[in-house]
């Protein structure tokens, strides 16, 4: 059951922890040469210390958090906007956070706006943004 019945402004959502293994990055991005995501030598040549996860993976994590919160009200009628502010490297551990910032009426429902961000194992934010979705009442 979605968590939406308990939504309140200021509420911190249950955090998600994601291990960014090269295997998962490979499956997400598709393995190919001359890719900063799956070709370590190429990533180093481009100035990175190793391969990077696609920023888009962080949008999937925020989406998971919102689907857990709002269920159908996110997969139909949800929005998500994120900026990728630091590289996420293979081997990193990301923690995905969300805090409810606003609720506002929309037609006969309520739009719930959540600040979302991902943080690496060093405490650095790697992606920041806002997500929203609909709930009853």
């Amino acid at each position: 059951m979605p968590l939406a019945e308990t939504v309140a402004v200021g509420q911190e959502l249950p955090a998600l922890v994601k291990e960014m293994s090269q295997r998962r990055i490979d499956v997400y991005s598709g393995v190919r040469p001359r890719s900063i995501h799956t070709d370590e030598a190429w990533a180093r040549q481009k100035g990175f210390r190793t391969t990077l996860a696609q920023g888009m993976m962080s949008t999937a994590f925020a989406s998971e958090m919102m689907t857990r919160l709002l269920g159908e009200g996110f997969i139909r009628g949800g929005t998500l906007s994120m900026a990728f502010i630091k590289p996420v490297y293979a081997g990193d551990r990301l923690t995905v956070h969300g805090v409810v910032r606003e609720t506002r009426p929309e037609s006969a429902r309520t739009r719930v706006v959540v600040e979302v961000w991902c943080q690496n194992q060093h405490g650095e934010k790697t992606a920041v943004g806002t997500a929203s979705g609909l709930t009853e009442g």
Partner: protein
Amino acid sequence: MTEFPRLTYDALTVGEQFVSDTHLVTPEDIEAYAFAVDDHHPWFTHDSPVGGPVAHPTLMANQALHLRHSKYIVHAGLHAKMQFEFVEPIRPGMRVRSRGTVVDKYERRGRQYMVTEYVTEDETGAVLVRGQFTQMLIPEGTRHAAR
């Protein structure tokens, strides 16, 4: 026959359009995506409130993100921003494609960016996801100074 010039900031034109090939969404796609992002929501494999299984909302995001590859050889790039509006769920068995238009390009602090508006739709043309993304170009022969 499509020709694939190398993507450069100068070659890119605001207003130019991209279209992907059509992709049949399979249960295997959904399973692989669930593994990749470590999200195994039961709606991906069992009934959901919208009737039948659904895909992860961001399943086809890479189809949109790779639109520029339908016209250009892309040397390297980084994804800077992504916006989604999830209009209708993507479901297994749908044939989906993405279309995009370059709506802006700009240089900031020595880096080059392109902005694309996109829509992902099913075989009837019904909109499933729409949004906008910003990509940074990494020109050939250069390194990105990782932050």
